[in-house]
């Protein structure tokens, strides 16, 4: 694998400063501090309920944080709709359950945001969409509806759909958790290819093989806190905290 294309610049892409979030009385995110540089590929893992999905969903305001600052690509997230929409244009998101629009064809799914948000002419948007559909290896499905595709194909369409907006950051919220085992690989392959092209990625996943292959940093969360963050090699071979050790022993030795 070439390392030069996976270089990380020192330009800050995402910054979280003392971010806190509560669901009612439940403290989901406790003083999260995290800086992500442009081109970094970060894998976030941790037991369920640890707040990892909530954290990345705060980055594009699918969830609202109550205190602290979130700065994405130079824009601070506030309640200002303009700021939120600016950030959402630059941040692509892939969901656990794909969330493709079932009433639109694959191609229409991909063209929708470029046409309506970026005001790209339809022809151009369709050409871009086909380019990305080829990259995720399903150009032949362009005129089908999502309901006619397999789970793995749907998730690849979802990745292509996000890429069509030409985002600076891609967020993956457990992209392979809802897939049958034999479909996980086809999605991971697409994600690995993407990582090699140097896009900034934050990925909540339990695919530790993926983390070892592409991540610059692995972050372990538990109880709403970042417990440990390290390079993958160190993280897997030499975990520092007991909770990380326990977690790794549970997911690696089954």
């Amino acid at each position: 694998m070439s390392t030069d294309s996976m270089s990380v610049s020192d330009q800050v892409m995402i910054e979280l400063k003392n971010v806190n979030k509560w669901y009612g009385d439940f403290h989901v995110l406790k003083d999260i501090n995290l800086t992500v540089n442009k081109g970094e590929r970060i894998v976030i893992c941790g037991p369920s309920g640890s707040g990892k999905s909530t954290m990345i969903r705060c980055l594009n305001r699918l969830e609202e944080h109550q205190s602290g600052d979130i700065i994405v690509s130079g824009t601070t997230l506030t309640n200002d709709l303009k700021h939120i929409e600016t950030i959402r244009r630059e941040v692509g998101m892939v969901f656990q359950h794909f969330n493709l629009f079932p009433h639109l064809t694959v191609l229409e799914n991909c063209c929708l945001a470029p046409i309506w948000v970026r005001k790209t002419p339809r022809k151009e948007a369709e050409a871009t969409a086909m380019k990305y559909l080829e990259r995720v290896k399903i150009p032949e499905q362009a005129h089908k509806y999502p309901g006619q595709l397999s789970g793995g194909q749907q998730q690849r369409v979802a990745i292509a759909r996000s890429l069509c907006m030409n985002p600076e950051v891609m967020l993956f919220d457990e992209p392979t958790s809802a897939l049958d085992p034999e479909m996980i690989k086809e999605v991971l392959d697409v994600m690995i290819e993407l990582a090699q092209e140097g896009i900034t990625m934050l990925c909540v996943t339990h695919e530790m093989g993926f983390a070892k292959t592409v991540a610059n940093r692995v972050i372990f969360m538990d109880g709403g806190q970042i417990i440990e963050e390290n390079e993958p090699q160190e993280f897997f071979n030499n975990p520092q905290s007991d909770r990380t050790k326990l977690f790794l022993s549970q997911i690696l030795n089954h």
Binding site: R61, L62, E85, H97, N99, L112, M165
Partner: protein, 368 residues
């Protein structure tokens, strides 16, 4: 080793399961109970249907110009055919019938254009039907400009009036219903309370009460300068009443859309109206097509309630014709005719909605 080289005897052929006899055996006479039910229902059908057909078609009188033509003892359709113009056009002046006919033909062409899938520029035809056609219809029906003499709305009646009420109600109540449904699910407390109260008030009052209020009470309270036409008041009443029902039907559809669809649209940076217009409403409306058409059909039939405020829709005009001393005793024919006309329109709507549902089905629903 044992080898059996004797040929086994042929089995008898299986009982027939295809063809008319097979079908009968499978569906109507497969168990003793089913056989008995088939015979009982068959007996009831024969004893009731045969006299009905006898009355309505075989013994019926079709041609003539007075009740003297009805001598066969069956249905006297002469009653309907003699007064057909009145049933269709109400008290519209006979010299102006062409205006209504032109509109009927134009509307028929537009609807056919919209329903037929291969029509070019169907979107524009739909837009024309919804935006331009009502304006044309108003100027044609009411007159007063382009050299057309004015025909006051109290002269409108019969099927024409029924269609005016139903079409205006249908076309106006859907968008108002959509806005109310969105408002009721809004995060803005004032909008939400307003829409909730509006829906609950209009839905909680009988349509008859609303029509009475619109025609009797409103003029008492409204300042004298405001003199709204009685038909307009009825139209507003019917539209607002039905839009409250429509809103609840559409809200059901909105609630059936998974949260992930909203999130995916948000994550792309779509604004609220684009999210609703492009992602949520197309799916929500498709889910509730049966409910929407149900409301349309109810609205179509409810238009006959305007007879209590003195508007002569199809039912009212047939009823008034029954009071004519020359035609006493033909109420069965009158009501059967009205029922048949209503049924034709409602059944057409129902069939079209089923076709739409099939056409818009994109293979999801089983999944997810």
């Amino acid at each position: 080793m044992i080898i059996n080289d004797k040929k086994l005897p042929d089995l008898p052929p299986p009982t027939s399961t295809s063809g008319p006899i097979g079908w009968l055996r499978n569906n109507l006479f497969d168990t003793p109970l089913n056989s008995i039910l088939t015979l009982v229902i068959g007996y009831l059908l024969v004893t009731n249907l045969v006299p009905l057909i006898q009355w309505a078609f075989i013994d019926a009188d079709w041609i003539g110009d007075s009740r003297d033509a009805c001598t066969s003892g069956g249905a006297c359709w002469v009653f309907v055919s003699v007064r057909l113009n009145q049933f269709l056009y109400g008290f519209y002046p006979e010299s102006e019938y062409w205006r209504i006919n032109t509109l009927f033909v134009l509307l028929g062409l537009l609807l056919a254009g919209m329903i037929y899938e291969k029509t070019p520029k169907r979107g524009w035809i739909a837009l024309f039907t919804l935006v331009v056609f009502p304006v044309i219809a108003y100027f044609m029906l009411h007159g007063g400009s382009f050299g057309l003499p004015v025909v006051e709305t109290h002269k409108w009646g019969g099927l024409t009036l029924t269609l005016v009420l139903a079409l205006v109600g249908i076309v106006a109540s859907l968008p108002i219903g959509v806005m109310l449904a969105l408002g009721r699910r809004s995060h803005m407390p004032i909008v939400r309370s307003f829409c909730t109260i509006f829906i609950e008030v209009w839905r909680g009052v009988p349509l008859i009460t609303i029509l009475f209020m619109a025609s009797v009470m409103l003029p008492l309270f409204a300042p004298e300068e405001i003199d709204l036409d009685k038909l307009v008041r009825a139209l507003i009443g019917i539209t607002l009443f039905q839009s409250a029902y429509m809103a609840e039907v559409i809200r059901a559809g909105l609630q059936a859309i998974p949260k992930g669809q909203y999130e995916a649209a948000d994550a792309m940076g779509l604004s609220y109206w684009k999210k609703m217009g492009l992602i949520i409403l197309p799916q929500a409306l498709k889910i509730v097509i049966p409910g929407i058409v149900n409301t349309f059909i109810a609205l179509f039939k409810d238009t006959s309630l305007v007879l209590i405020i003195g508007l002569f829709d199809l039912l009212a005009i047939v009823q008034s014709a029954l009071a004519d001393p020359k035609w006493l005793g033909y109420s069965t024919e009158g009501y059967v005719f009205v029922a048949f006309v209503f049924w034709v329109f409602c059944f057409a709507m129902s069939r079209y909605s089923q076709y739409l549902e099939r056409k818009l089905h994109t293979g999801h629903g089983a999944r997810q």
